[in-house]
Assembly symmetry: D2
Homo-oligomer: 132 residues x 4
């Protein structure tokens, strides 16, 4: 993928205040693909002491949205859904990977997986974007 | 609804660090119902300058989860989905309302609506909880 | 809403073989709205003896898709989700209503409710369409 | 997986009238896994001439539900969602595969993929079941 595109995406992450709060670190981007990490951090927990479902959805939405931008253009989320299979706890980091299902001219669909330190699958999600 | 239950839910919101970051204010709870508000705030925006989809999902998940707790017990999100119909911008606050579809013994389903200052419907969502 | 549009939608329902199998009867259409009925019928049941979730999803997809066509144009389903709150049984008919969340130029979002004879809410769903 | 369980699932498919209409053929089941096929058939099309989204959702719901039953017990769909990436046409058959995300005691989550003759990914979905 184009190096300029990669830098554009890295800049988006570096400059956004909410992504900074999440501690989001972009690990890899390629055509139709993105991977990022957030830490297990006290300020991101739900009342039960594991990472908040909204934090995990945010991570997934961001990573899938970045993956959809790897072909150029900007992605606006039309809808997203998350299935929470296992609690996000007892892990140092959380990894999120997004993979293309279909990158259309107007509409893009990406699947995401959220994994813990031991690469155990915690959550799955699917996001639909409008491309501009 | 029971006053002690109400205080329990208010305490959850008051003590959680992520909810504080969101600026979440609980406005009303009743059996099978909850309403809360977050401000349109710089630290919650996406790169386009409107409230981040992950922030809105977090709001919806929290409000629906609180509504599911109004009968007693604790709710754990099984899955959630959001449809983003209109950008959350040009508004001072964002209101989220959650209403019961079904409160089962094990599984609860709630619908949410996200509205701007003028009560325009911005987003809809549905959440499924496991009750413990 | 335009009478010609209405007739166009009625014709779609009358000519489609799968909709005939479902026994789908279009009850009402208006701008951003549609309502239809299917019978509780032996040939539509799941192994437990209530209406199959796939049948109810089909009904919802069709009704929401017709509602999205009331402004003209054709709708193609991008995605859809259903939450099954109560079993569809002990009822003569099942009613499905679809209401507009947003009718955009390219993307339309509709919510659906599925009700039994006594107008009890059985299921809810949300559908996203690409308009052509 | 237990041979008796396998026969129980094959019997469910063989006896259900709606599954017969779909032409559903169970190809494989194993612990946390199921695969089935339906034909591209005139009686399953939408008005545009490709397989109806409701038919594909039905297929996915059935296959995921069967996969969830491979550990024993019965599955009731709590919710399901489908993303339609490519039209289901110009293919003799449609294959659906369901794989376990998590098989809990009460709640099970399965992902599905729908593929055409050339194993091109057409649609993805996720289903949540209550186990009884």
């Amino acid at each position: 993928m184009d190096q300029k595109e990669r830098e554009r995406l890295e800049k988006i992450v570096a400059q956004n205040e909410y992504m900074k709060y999440l501690g989001l670190e972009l690990l890899d981007v390629d055509l139709g693909y993105a991977r990022a990490r957030i830490p297990y951090s006290h300020k991101l927990l739900n009342p039960y002491g594991y990472l908040h479902g909204g934090v995990l959805f945010s991570l997934a939405d961001i990573v899938a949205g970045l993956a959809a931008c790897t072909y150029g253009g900007n992605s606006v989320t039309i809808d997203g859904s998350m299935n929470y299979a296992r609690p996000a706890m007892n892990t140092k980091d959380i990894i999120c990977e997004a993979r293309e299902v279909r990158q259309g001219k107007h509409v893009a669909v990406y699947r995401v997986e959220i994994l813990n330190d031991e690469r155990l699958l915690l959550d799955t999600g699917t996001f639909t974007f409008f491309m501009m």
